[in-house]
């Protein structure tokens, strides 16, 4: 157990406090992991907003131009539908722009959107490197690796999350599936896939950005045009991850949230690994 005793000594000597019986805490996240985790919030937001502005210039999903409006962009159609059906939006000045005005920097901003996208993309790659450095330095990468039992365990967790609100309403006892690893199988699947999606976003991004110098990379994703489709849907992986991620962290409570800021968790029992 050499690994677990070293930080203990460090922490006590660093706090220069007398050895009093206190709260047992576990070190969950390395400093670099915490920093890069939070920096992802503005970076991903900037990448998505500028990315949808870039998408506007040449949408992937197009249809034959509408005889009345001349519109050929499926995203613009969604904006038109929203303006026609959502009360209060009937008089919106430019319905085809609704999506771009609300989910991007706005239409007709290609030059600025590209500059911002490069700025945030370089920041994203640097931040990713910091995250990986933190995972290695803190040994946290081991906790993210998939296990053989994960498929079944992930299903048990999924059933728990689905049934939880109903059980709460019915005031029924709904036990949390037991596990003795840092993350449960569903968390592990998510926290393993998201960095993977990050790597794929960077790879498809370079394939689109430099399709001639990196033509063999573009070929892996099926060529330039297909790499754009990959890049577009990888954005949705982040969006679809963030929503339950934020909900579950708030549902799980203060200790989990604090863990990503301070790095310590006072819920030691649950985060224990039994050898």
């Amino acid at each position: 157990m050499s690994r677990s005793t070293t930080p203990r000594k460090e922490a006590i000597s660093a706090s220069t406090l007398p050895e009093l019986p206190g709260v047992l805490v576990a070190k969950r996240h390395h400093l670099l992991v915490r920093w890069s985790h939070w920096l992802n919030v503005p970076i991903l937001l900037g990448l998505i907003l500028s990315g949808i502005s870039i998408y506007w210039a040449s949408p992937i999903y197009q249809h034959k131009p509408d005889p009345n409006t001349g519109n050929f962009d499926v995203l613009a159609d969604i904006g038109i539908w929203i303006c026609a059906h959502v009360p209060g939006l009937h008089h919106y000045s430019s319905p085809p722009d609704w999506i771009y005005n609300h989910m991007s920097l706005g239409p007709g901003m290609l030059a600025l959107a590209l500059r911002l996208h490069w700025l945030y993309a370089y920041a994203f790659m640097l931040n990713g490197a910091v995250y990986v450095a933190g995972l290695i330095a803190g040994g946290g990468w081991r906790g993210l690796l998939p296990r053989r039992t994960d498929l079944l365990d992930a299903f048990r967790m999924f059933r728990y999350y689905l049934g939880f609100p109903l059980a709460k309403l019915a005031r029924r006892h709904w036990p949390h599936p037991g596990f003795n690893t840092k993350y449960n199988a569903l968390q592990r699947a998510a926290y393993f896939s998201v960095p993977l999606a990050g790597c794929l976003s960077v790879a498809t991004g370079w394939a689109i950005h430099k399709p001639m110098q990196f033509h063999s990379l573009a070929a892996i994703f099926g060529g330039f045009d297909a790499a754009r489709v990959w890049h577009f849907w990888l954005m949705w992986v982040f969006i679809l991850f963030v929503v339950p991620h934020v909900i579950l962290v708030f549902a799980d409570g203060w200790d989990t949230f604090r863990g990503m800021i301070v790095g310590w968790s006072a819920r030691v029992k649950r985060s224990e690994v039994h050898g």
Partner: protein, 279 residues
């Protein structure tokens, strides 16, 4: 159980230690406050990079077009251009395709295509040559003097669309060998007859190309598209075809080529796009 038995990939127990409840509280307060300050700073920093229209849309009237913002965005663009220039290799050629893979090529020129009146009197002027004199060349002498090369390559637009087309023309490199530029030359300024905006008013089009890219074996001065002489829509009688650059550098109906030591003006760089545009 020790680490060896767990294997290299096995999860280790989390490091645990005891802390005074007060220390935990103080440490939490300190870090959460620091985190909050950082979050506000990051939000303000990232928010100030948003375009003015978006900020006005969000109800923020204050003008945040600070010089710092311009500097940051310009640095990102410059770093990206430097990366692109580093990636470029004169030996790395772009993929070529078969005739069955040819796709429609749209005429993305938003302005008014000029009347074909200019074609009979058209000639190409070369300036900034080692000889010190400018050389006017007509299309017939260009096509007879230089060998014509064919290639089926992809044209990638900054907007995100791309098209595969079958081109034929002379190599820019051959022209450079026949009419060598001054020894200091690092850049090429390319001007076009396509110089009217959508309402027919003068809107001169000019781009810069670095000399290294001009020398690339797949950089053509194209005369034909899909086996036919170029139409006015596609830049008759001669257009630049440079597949290692974005479509916007592939100037139609070239009229003048000027070699220079200094980075020449570029139509799109003046409008906030990158200068190098290597892809």
């Amino acid at each position: 159980m020790n680490n060896k038995a767990r294997g290299f990939f096995g999860e280790r127990p989390l490091p645990k230690f005891e802390v005074d409840p007060q220390v935990l509280r103080r440490r939490s307060r300190r870090d959460v406050l620091l985190f909050g300050a950082g979050a506000v700073a990051a939000l303000a920093g990232a928010g100030s990079l948003l375009p003015q229209n978006t900020l006005t849309g969000l109800g923020l009237r204050r003008n945040v077009n600070s010089p710092g913002k311009e500097w940051l965005l310009n640095s990102a663009l410059r770093i990206d251009d430097d990366v692109a220039e580093t990636l470029y290799s004169p030996r790395r050629t772009v993929p070529t395709y078969t005739k069955s893979q040819i796709t429609p090529l749209k005429n993305n020129y938003n302005g008014a295509t000029p009347a074909p009146r200019y074609i009979p009197g058209w000639h190409l002027t070369l300036d900034g040559l080692a000889s010190g004199v400018s050389a006017p060349l007509d299309i017939r002498s260009l096509m007879t003097r230089f060998s014509i090369h064919e290639q089926i390559t992809r044209l990638v637009c900054v907007e995100g669309w791309s098209a595969i087309a079958w081109w034929a023309g002379l190599r820019f490199d051959d022209l450079l060998r026949a009419f060598p530029p001054t020894s200091q030359a690092k850049w090429v300024r390319v001007e076009s007859s396509v110089n009217l905006d959508a309402s027919g008013n003068p809107d001169p089009y000019y781009v810069s190309i670095d000399l290294a890219t001009a020398r690339h074996p797949q950089t053509l001065l194209a005369t034909h598209l899909n086996g036919q002489p170029l139409t006015v829509e596609h830049g008759a009688p001669l257009r630049l075809l440079v597949p290692v650059k974005l479509g916007l550098k592939n100037v139609k109906a070239i009229t003048k080529i000027t070699y220079s030591a200094e980075d020449p003006k570029d139509y799109w760089a003046e409008r906030g796009y990158s200068r190098y545009d290597g892809i």
